[in-house]
């Protein structure tokens, strides 16, 4: 069992007496005010502190290096600290052709990341197999792990990678604080045979 610190499902009030409870007007039910503020703060923090884990197998990795360097400077978005330990990172950036033998390795790296985790698929090869329509290449990494944002291009320019990154940020900032406990997310992971 994973630790759950907040209740996703609101508890039913256990009122046995004949106390009349006021029905909340529409628009005021759901998450409490406090948790909403909390999720806003955590969303802001997560959004501005995405530590990327580069999984660079080929030429898109070179574009990623350009993105990290002074001119494009991914650290503006708080992604300065590139971690090479999957446990400390939030964003798996898959860049380059993933062959079928590499698929289990990629999946292993994804499983080693602590939740919450996101995946950015950079380039045509990672997204769909690209020009390598052959027996040895995985036709898109979404066959082994769930992907949040795809960046097209062969290879994509650093601007395109930054655009993809900002889309991830939008996702992260608006997400509920415990996405990982929701039924939808579990169903998604189960469809990939994870947990």
């Amino acid at each position: 069992m994973r630790p759950v610190r907040f209740n996703i499902n609101a508890k039913k009030a256990n009122i046995q007496d004949a106390v009349a409870t006021v029905q909340a007007p529409p628009g005021f039910s759901g998450e409490g005010f406090f948790t909403t503020k909390m999720s806003d703060v955590v969303g802001l923090a997560r959004k501005n502190s995405m530590w990327p884990l580069p999984f660079a197998t080929s030429c898109c990795g070179i574009e990623f290096m350009a993105t990290m360097a002074s001119h494009y400077d991914l650290s503006r978005f708080g992604a300065e600290r590139v971690g090479f330990s999957p446990r400390q990172c939030d964003l798996l950036m898959v860049m380059g052709t993933i062959s079928k033998k590499m698929g289990p390795v990629l999946r292993q790296v994804y499983l080693q990341m602590a939740e919450p985790r996101w995946v950015l698929s950079v380039g045509a090869c990672a997204s769909s197999g690209g020009i390598f329509d052959t027996y040895s290449v995985l036709q898109g990494i979404d066959q082994v792990i769930p992907v949040d944002v795809y960046v097209p291009g062969c290879p994509p320019r650093p601007e395109a990678i930054i655009d993809g990154f900002m889309r991830i940020q939008d996702l992260v900032g608006q997400e509920s604080i415990r996405r990982r406990n929701s039924e939808q997310y579990k169903a998604l992971l189960n469809s990939y045979g994870i947990e």
Binding site: A45, H71, E80, S85, R87, Q88, A114, P116
Partner: protein, 278 residues
């Protein structure tokens, strides 16, 4: 009584100030490299994000050593702020680093071992200078008490060479280039803290902020009762450290040890001899 409350508040605020120093440092470093750099509040964003990561630990002793590393360095900073014994402060700080090294060695990861090994080597490099610094302060001041050092006239005029030696070993202490062998990201992927994650990595991360407070407070001591001079020294040291970090490449750990033993240590020792025979 009132001063105790003020000092306690200072101790509690120390990580916050340290985080701010770290944020400003990242910004300054980025501007020196001609890029925009992260937000000044970036360390706090990291803090809140790490707090909510899923709990993954290698084993409980490893996690416990990481948390104790944070607590012991906080105690060292607290003793420093409360004006306690300088020797006690230096050895509490040594204890916190030793706990991190034990944490690094307690896993099976080879990178963790390498990082812990190199952290131990950097202790060998900087610790003698710190102890000689404490002894020379005793020779000048007649006391190890920080409250009496802060009350006396500036130490900088009496022991300038010790201050230079301190400046020479600070990059080793703070893991800055050219002496950042202990957490060389490109070679050994981050040092002894590599196996920590989530809330336990947060303890290590916050301990790093407290490290800044510790180092800059040591520098501030050289101002003595002249607080303006102390603040000037802190700002100067900050700029010096960042300029050095950005303009130099990493050296081998043997070169680091040689530099420490043949340059920094003799400089501190000469100053000690001068103060002893004066």
């Amino acid at each position: 009584m009132q001063s105790i409350i003020i000092l306690s508040i200072l101790v509690l605020l120390a990580p916050l100030v340290g985080g701010l120093v770290y944020g400003i440092e990242r910004k300054v470093k980025a501007r020196m490299q001609n890029r925009m750099g992260p937000n000044i509040l970036q360390p706090f964003y990291d803090f809140f994000k790490l707090a909510d990561k899923r709990l993954v630990m290698v084993h409980s002793t490893h996690a416990f050593l990481g948390v104790m590393h944070f607590i012991s360095i906080w105690v060292a900073v607290a003793v420093l702020i409360f004006g306690g014994d300088l020797i006690l402060v230096i050895f509490l700080h040594l204890l916190s680093t030793a706990l991190l090294i034990m944490g690094g060695f307690s896993t099976r990861s080879i990178f963790s071992h390498l990082g812990a090994n190199r952290t131990a080597i950097s202790i060998l490099a900087y610790e003698p200078v710190l102890i000689i610094m404490a002894v020379s302060i005793y020779a000048v001041n007649g006391s190890f008490q920080i409250s009496s050092i802060i009350g006396s006239e500036p130490l900088l005029y009496k022991m300038p060479l010790t201050f230079i030696a301190l400046l020479l070993i600070l990059p080793i202490k703070l893991k800055k280039s050219p002496f950042d062998v202990a957490e060389a990201h490109q070679e050994i992927a981050g040092g002894a803290e590599i196996e920590y994650s989530g809330i336990f990595f947060e303890a290590i991360y916050t301990a790093k902020w407290l490290d800044y407070i510790f180092v800059y407070a040591l520098v501030f001591l050289f101002g003595g009762s002249n607080y303006l001079l102390g603040a000037g020294l802190v700002v100067g040291t900050f700029i010096y450290l960042n300029a050095l970090d950005n303009s130099s490449a990493r050296v081998d750990y043997r070169q680091m040890l040689k530099f420490s033993y043949f340059v920094a240590l003799p400089v501190a020792f000469i100053n000690l001899l001068i103060t002893l025979f004066n």
